[in-house]
Each structure stands twice: as structure tokens, then as C-alpha cells.
């Protein structure tokens, strides 16, 4: 592989673009396939199969050929509201997974670059922050402030936009109160019940890293149902 292709791949990964690395394993040639771009002439005759693999988000060798396809897809967005202690551990776990992660917290002493180096931090209230992030049914929300002022607007946005995973930190009692508020705000019972609260798979632990692990496990479980 040429260094230039490698650099191109890295830049496309950073820009969260969708593409495939196509390699001819009989002569070592590679090219980067993109949906609306012209296919390299050396790979032209495989264009239908390449598109097929790409559209099916599949990796592999095209049958009866020497052409290998390695697809890269836009990662699932995970939005964490609350730059709290648990969030620091949570990011340690989920940064290794293929997620595009945003942290929202209006409190700048929590959401600081020092506490969260090299992360997308949005130092705004959730309603303002969501104006900057395109969200849909393949977005996840993890609400960790357990402060209704901050969590509730984010939860409402997530419910309206049908996020595939919505989790909220807080005890059973805190969660019951939260559900009550959301119902009063007009959300249906089944919508409110779709929120994972108390958040996480019950692993038995109560420490911050253990709670972060239980949230990670639940997020991964739900993301594989997509």
C-alpha cells in the first residue's frame, strides 16, 4: 500500500466518511472506493460487486476473483450529557469502540479539555448543543448529570428523535420521578419506558468505573441490535 493511500484513509476516517479499501491481492494494487466517485480503471470490471459489498457493509474477497474489499462506515454517534467522574471512565472504555462521541455539559469546570483531552466537548446547554449535532435513530444518549435541568431537555430531544439507545443515571426513585415529569410533558408511557433507567446492565458494582463498565456493556448490546 502506498503511503499516500494510507494517509488518505486516515483522513477519511477522521472525517467520518464512508469508503472502502479495495485491494487486488494478486498484484498488490489498492484504491479507495467512494460511493459517488469514479472507480479506478484497473478495478472497473468489478464495479458492480464492489458496490454490492459496500452497500451490504461487507468485508471480503469477491468470489472467483483476487479483489479484497474492506469497508469503513460512519460510526454510531454517542452523546454523553454530563462530564462527570463516571464519564471519564466511560470514555476510557468506549473510545476503543467505533463510536463518534460528543460530551455535552454547560458547566465549564466539568467539561474541560484537561479532564477530557482530545474529545468533542460542547460546553453548552443540551438544547443549544443539539443544534450543532445531527442526530437520528442511530444515535445514543447517555445522560449522567441526574440533574433534571440538564438531563431532561436532552432526554426529550432523544425521545423525539427516536434514538436507538437512551440511558439515564439515577436511582429507581430518581428515575420514577423523571418518568413522571416526561409523561407530564406529553410523552407516551411506552416512550418513557424505553429509557434505560437506572442506566446500565446490573453487574452488582457501585463504583464509578464499574458503573461505566455496566453502561458500556448495555450500549454495546443495544448497538448490535441495530
Amino acid at each position: 500500500m502506498k503511503k499516500q493511500i494510507l494517509e488518505n484513509i486516515i483522513s477519511k476516517k477522521n472525517n467520518k466518511e464512508e469508503f472502502a479499501i479495495v485491494t487486488n491481492i494478486s498484484n498488490g494494487e489498492n484504491f479507495i472506493f467512494e460511493k459517488n466517485k469514479i472507480i479506478d480503471k484497473n478495478f472497473e470490471k468489478y464495479s458492480d460487486e464492489i458496490k454490492n459489498y459496500f452497500n451490504n457493509k461487507q468485508n471480503g474477497i469477491i468470489e472467483n476473483t483476487d479483489i479484497f474489499i474492506d469497508t469503513y462506515f460512519r460510526p454510531i454517534k454517542v452523546i454523553v450529557v454530563g462530564a462527570v467522574h463516571i464519564t471519564q471512565f466511560l470514555l476510557d472504555y468506549i473510545k476503543n469502540l467505533n463510536f463518534e462521541i460528543f460530551i455535552i455539559d454547560p458547566r465549564d469546570y466539568f467539561a474541560s479539555e484537561k479532564r477530557f483531552p482530545n474529545m468533542n466537548i460542547i460546553n453548552k446547554w443540551p438544547i443549544e448543543a443539539f443544534e450543532e449535532i445531527k442526530t437520528d435513530s442511530s444515535t445514543a444518549l447517555i445522560a449522567l448529570t441526574h440533574d433534571p435541568k440538564i438531563d431532561d431537555p436532552a432526554l426529550k430531544h432523544a425521545l423525539k428523535n427516536k434514538f436507538f439507545y437512551i440511558g439515564a443515571l439515577g436511582s429507581k426513585k430518581t428515575h420514577l420521578n423523571r418518568c413522571q415529569r416526561l409523561k407530564e410533558a406529553g410523552f407516551k408511557e411506552e416512550e418513557v419506558n424505553s429509557i434505560h433507567g437506572p442506566i446500565g446492565i446490573n453487574l452488582g458494582g457501585k463504583s464509578s468505573p464499574e458503573i461505566a463498565l455496566s453502561i458500556t456493556a448495555q450500549l454495546v448490546l443495544e448497538s448490535h441490535k441495530l
Partner: protein
Amino acid sequence: MKNTSDEKILEEANLWINANHKVALVTVIKTWGSSPRQVGSKMIVNEKGEFLGSISGGCVESSIIEESLKLLKDNKLFKKIEFKVTNQNAWEVGLACGGEITIYLEQIN
């Protein structure tokens, strides 16, 4: 198949190249039966035998490091290697799990 993890192998490969290392990029291109890593899994090896990532659960890595060193030393561009169930005649190492994998090595140049 979704890419569910982001191991930054390619990013690290670029850093190694920029630090004047020779680098072989190793990719799982085909699997049969129960092989531990899925198609597209990657590993990089430099001329010192330092490596990052994995292409099996540790079963064939040592052999792949040797093959990568050879590729870099001979200044070859690419090579395809198949590993089958442990077979002393063909390979020193094999997949204890009974799976089979095909590995593609390419030099980054």
C-alpha cells in the same frame, strides 16, 4: 459486517512510517470455521519485529511476524498466506480452534 471497534492501527502505521520505520500491514482477508478475528482485522509489524494489533487470538502471530520481517528484508510488496488447522508438515503454527484464515501482507511504501 460493521466495523465495531476502532483500533487506530492504520494511524499508528503512519506514525511508524514517519519515524522512518519499514512497516508491513497485515489483514485478515478470509476466514472459514471458527477463527478468532473477523475479516478486515489488522496488525502492523516493523523491521525490528515490533507489532501492534492482531489477526488471530495469538495462534499465528509469531509466524506472521517472521513473514513480515522477511517481506520487509526482501523488499517485497505483498504476500498472501493461508493458515489451516494445525498441520506440522505445512506450518509450525496453526489455529488450535480448528478454523482457517487467509492473511494478506503488504509493505507500506
